[in-house]
Amino acid sequence: MSSIPDLDILFVVPKAYGDEDQSRIDLLGAGDVSVDMRSVRDHQYLKDLSYIEINSNLVPYTSPEEYEELVNKAEHRGKRLVETTMGGKLNFTGKYGKNLYEEIANYAVVAGEITLKRDFDIIHSHDWLTYPAGIAAKRASGKPLVIHVHATDFDRSGGKVNPTVFEIEKMGMHLADKIIAVSNLTRRTVIEKYGIHPDKVITVYNAVDPLPDHEKLKLKRGINDKVVTFLGRITIQKGPEYFVQAAYKVLQKMDNVRFVMAGSGELLEKMIHWTSRLGISDRFHYTGFLKGDDVTRMFSISDVYVMPSVSEPFGISPLEAMQSNVPSIISRQSGVAEILKYTLKVDFWDVDALADAIYGLLNYPSLSEMFKKHGVQEVNDMKWENSGKKVHSIYQEFVQ
């Protein structure tokens, strides 16, 4: 987006650390905005905030470690709407923590405050955590609101939505002037599950950053066996059990292969128990949570990457695998399946098809060769610049 001239971006984040690149973007940490308590009381943009002041520990996107910490602590029962620090500033952790709902509310307060002090034409908020802030800003300024749906609670929960989150999402979508979905899959969810008019919802696909110097991050392979990798949170949404079942089937037919489940999550222990019960533990390995360069290293020793997600609004990880020359198998229930050609697609529940795809990639070399040859190019052709331009053209509708 920053490459588009005539577009100034004021980026409001919960917490700015001060080292972000701000050459083209005006970055504002929400905690750096002074809030005048009188204006808070007077403004009607807060009238919906009661919605979000709910005591619950169910917070999306917490890492399992944080989640455990969270449930071990006493429930937070603070009822104060806005808690300011000395100097009228609000405290933001910048993390998804126990007082998440309070932070969302505070965030909305700040957003309302910013609208009074800054000049702008469009409000763009990302996912339910920022919808209240977007709504507040819209109410205060009368400017159009664009919301960007990266995931819905249907994706995160495997269908069992959290009613609070659902309400916030629904409110955001209904009050928005335009909705951007990261795939047609997500677009359909927005239309069908939240009752939004199709004309209001537009698909803009994500992209992936070019891989920096991945040669350096290559690991030396210590084994001759082929490596099949699952990488992601080990939760219902990501479908780890289908990976285990497929691994079991493949191991019945060939022995020069190993399976790696990289990541952590609430289903990790269950998976470990299960693989040992199946008697494949010697061929099935767990790495725990990987991040940054470790992800790239893991890809460098992988022959096949598998993403059997039950529901994946977009799914950037297969793109990263393809950048590292790893052929991927993805579930048809992912947004990225709509745009990728050089990849194998299976229904997440079809374990036979998944196993067959893994076996095929490992045993019939021309298939891997083909994916390696064309996959990198395919991914490199997806550029954030293009996504940015599409978002910009959506803005244009409102500005002219």
């Binding site: 697609k345 196993a355 795809a357 095929g360 019939y364 083909m370």
Partner: protein, 471 residues
């Protein structure tokens, strides 16, 4: 003389069932009987039966004037026998009129012409036998799978005794030249070439029902008008197409049958054109020039080349692996293996693996039972893996048989030797007797080892001893 040559291709593949890798080595049945049977029934009802009835009607109506040619793949014939014998009967009726020519092709609708003469000739011979047996004709004209042709393939076909061959009038081969003449092979001019007029053929086969086409709707009179507009000196219009054009690719509702019914009338009424079979065209017209086709062409897609079957890495791997088994397949006596080898060669399997659909989508996806070319490839390779195991097992079994047979012979020879030696011993002095005895025990030891090489050596040794004794 100006004439029209109509040739229709009839082919249906034996489609594979979903064959997972865990079936490899466990289940040797590869075919999707349900879809093969139901598709054949559907096409028979929509196309083969009504179209054959119409052809018969037209032939009878225009006694001796209306002529057509068919090429029916061996695979399609097998399916008719299995699922719809009435279709075969209706083709036999057409054959009996004497106005229908049946062409030669490969039994398995295969691309074996690209893999040298041996397998190609085997399949052509098998197909000839089927045609002879069912239609009582000895084919003189050849049409290769998907009209695949090159100078070399043509020369090979000429060697096999054919007088003419059909292929595509590909633009990149003809350049400014017109397909509406008789050409000949560049290596062996004895082989005449009939080139498809793809513009007029595809007007019927592909564009007939396209409402976005400026010429829509196409009537027989309009079509004959176009024939009349071709330069007068041009002698033959070759209209080659899939028979499924009638009723299957172009549904009955589009009026395709009415078009066909009206065509001969309109031709006879409004034009100087006649109808000829490919054999008649080859016999009656003068060759205008040789056609130079150094690289294989076909009638598929915009490019008219082989890329629909052998365009990507997967297709090449599958194709090479399949034909690498050829020698082993024919060293066995297992008929089931030979038949599966044929069915694995059907060009459609390779077509399903084409990644050209990314640009040339519609036609490819229409004929394709798989969601993606990768599915098609994995499924095919799974089947091929199982087939390879079977072939290897059969070859090994036969090697075992060979060893057993050879050892038996050796044993018999040994016994004979012993008898002879005994007879000798009675006549010859004691000194010689002892050396002969030693040699025979050595021979016995070597037979005990079952390796055929050892066996050969020992037989050689015996021969030499026997020879010595004779002398």
């Amino acid at each position: 003389m100006r004439t029209i040559c109509l040739y229709f291709q009839v082919h249906q593949p034996f489609r594979f069932r979903r064959y997972r890798f865990f079936d490899i080595g466990n289940d040797h049945y590869y075919y999707d009987d349900y879809s093969n049977e139901s598709i054949l029934h559907k096409v028979a009802q929509k196309c083969y039966l009504p179209a054959n009835a119409l052809m018969l009607e037209l032939i009878q109506k225009h006694a001796g004037q209306f002529k057509i040619a068919f090429s029916i793949s061996g695979i399609a014939m097998e399916q008719f026998k299995l699922y719809a014998p009435e279709v075969l009967d209706s083709f036999r009726k057409l054959a009996e009129t004497g106005q229908v020519e049946f062409l030669s092709e490969t039994y398995a609708h295969s691309l074996s012409s690209l893999k040298g003469r041996e397998e190609f000739e085997r399949q052509v011979t098998a197909h000839r036998a089927l045609i002879r047996e069912n239609f009582g004709q000895e084919p003189k004209v050849f049409r290769n799978t998907e009209l695949v042709y090159s100078d070399e393939i043509g020369a090979m076909v000429a060697d096999m005794g054919y007088k003419a061959m059909l292929t595509e009038g590909a633009k990149h081969v003809l350049g400014w030249k017109s397909p509406n003449y008789l050409y000949c092979n560049a290596i062996n001019p004895k082989l005449k070439l009939l080139l498809k007029n793809f513009k007029l053929s595809d007007d019927i086969a592909f564009r007939f029902s396209n409402k976005g086409w400026p010429e829509y709707p196409l009537t027989a009179d309009k079509f004959v008008d176009w024939l009349n507009q071709t330069p007068e000196e041009e002698e033959v219009i070759n209209l080659f197409m899939d028979y499924e054009t009638f009723g299957e690719h172009q549904w009955k509702e589009t009026g395709i049958f009415d078009f066909l019914r009206a065509l001969p009338d309109s031709v006879f009424r409004n034009s100087p054109f006649t109808f000829s079979t490919p054999s008649e065209v080859a016999d009656n017209l003068q060759v205008i020039s040789a056609a130079n086709v150094p690289n294989p062409i076909s009638w598929a897609d915009e490019e008219r080349d082989l890329t629909a079957w052998l365009g990507n890495e997967m297709q090449h791997e599958a194709f090479e692996k399949l034909y690498s088994l050829g020698e082993k397949v024919y060293s066995t006596d297992d008929d089931a293996i030979k038949q599966d080898f044929s069915f694995l060669q059907v060009s459609d399997h390779f077509y399903y693996m084409s990644t050209k659909f990314f640009s040339d989508g519609e036609v490819h996806s229409y004929f394709n039972p798989y969601d993606t070319p990768y599915d098609a490839f994995i499924n095919y390779m799974n089947v091929l893996s199982d087939f390879e195991i079977r072939v290897n097992a059969a070859v090994q079994a036969e090697v075992h048989d060979d060893v057993a047979r050879l050892s038996k012979i050796i044993k018999e020879k040994d016994e004979q030797l012993e008898k002879l030696e005994k007879r000798l011993a009675t006549k010859v002095p004691a000194k010689k007797k002892s050396t002969a005895a030693k040699k025979s025990t050595a021979a016995k030891k070597s037979t005990a080892a079952k390796k055929s090489t050892a066996a050969k050596k020992s037989t050689a040794a015996k021969k030499s001893t026997a020879a010595k004794k004779k002398s």
